[in-house]
Symmetry: C2
Subunit: 212 residues, 2 copies
DNA sequence: GAGTGTGAAGTTATTCACAGCT
DNA sequence: AGCTGTGAATAACTTCACACTC
């Protein structure tokens, strides 16, 4: 009785994916420096991990390296780009048009990697109607239809904590498949929607603990 | 031959500390809701972890709960506040006066928890001399003496990736003990300096992988 | 010789499950 | 009865070490 072979994806841990993302950035820098190949040792040092970790992570997806030589910088970068889904563009919308939203909106790294913001929402009448670099801030009441009509796939939440779950629910109703939450509160999403959190308070508080 | 008892601190893992920080936020909300006690089950649900995890995490630092009843909301919150070092204030400086810096500078959560920004630095002559809510943006050349003289303990880095390691070195020379880095690059710090990273590209890329 | 790929070993973190207190 | 505190069991992740390839 043959046991079905699990897809590579199913064996991939979240930490591995995050490191892949780090390798991707290092490989981008190495491209700029004109390097043709890189060893797991060099890649590890610049990514802040161990060489064994690099090899394990990469071996999950294929045999990209040459023994005695290392990994080819350009093709490995392309492989990771494709693995991470960065060889296409992603449509995003942002709810909560405050200072953090402004910073994300202006962040050049995002469009450079295919992440584009196509809609902005807020509940504050003073903000609704503002134009950000050609994009109009809309009422949060329009979130569901706009997200649906413009095929937004990723929702960014930069509202205050109290509004975050409501906005999250709206994004889900609008059909997004991923949410990046900056509000300092746990969000509940249904099966099939991916959630990532960035909590600045946790980072500072864990620093505070370490310094105490 | 008696083996010396390790201090509680040495057994505390980074994930535990980060969860403590999440519990702290939930307990703050529960205070506002007028709850006197909370069970590990209720706390776990609102923090997004398992009840056993809550009990394990809290038991590292003491016996805060009452069997049959749960944990006292107010005193548990105070305990965690003290454990995390949030019962004092922390002096911070920010290098890289861009959009993200502006968002952090305006983030009300920080001063509310004792994290205060006392200095701003940039290398761009157009930004040096700007006043942000009464605080003048200074040249990055003044970073070391200013950080030293104003007893800054935590450095925030929101510069482009290319400048991040240099600024980091300056913060270390100025005597900070902790650094929170937002630049998408690995930083090297000497022993004794704590480093935390917030990498927005990694978050989006790991989402991208999950959605692919 | 240099450096990958990978099973095995080791380490760390989470969950179970239940004794014991209130 | 309800819920904590915690050793034991399990699962997840990382590092080791070495056969193998270029």
């Amino acid at each position: 009785m043959a046991v079905p072979e699990p897809l590579p994806e199913s064996r991939v841990s979240e930490p591995s994916v995050r490191r892949l993302s780090a390798y991707y950035r290092v490989l981008g820098a190495l491209c700029g420096e004109g390097e043709n190949t890189v060893s797991s040792y060099a890649l590890a040092r610049r990514a802040g991990v161990t060489p064994a970790q690099v090899r394990k992570d990469l071996s999950i997806f294929g045999h990209f390296g040459k023994r005695g030589t290392g990994y080819p910088v350009i093709t490995l970068r392309q492989e990771i780009q494709s693995i991470l889904g960065l060889d296409r563009s992603w449509r995003m919308a942002l709810a909560g048009a405050g200072n953090l939203a402004h910073a994300l909106f202006a962040y050049k790294e995002f469009p450079a990697e295919g992440f584009h913001i196509h809609a902005l929402f807020d509940s504050d009448p003073a903000k609704i109607g503002q134009t950000w670099n050609g994009l109009v801030v809309e009422s949060v009441e329009r979130l569901v239809p706009v997200v649906r009509e413009t095929s937004v796939e990723i929702g960014l939440i930069t509202t205050p904590a109290a509004a975050a779950q409501d906005v999250c629910d709206l994004f889900v109703r609008g059909g997004v498949r991923g949410i990046l939450n900056f509000a300092p509160r746990k969000l509940f999403v249904p099966e099939g929607v991916s959630l990532r959190n960035v909590n600045l308070a946790i980072e500072l508080e864990s620093l505070s603990f370490a310094l105490k």
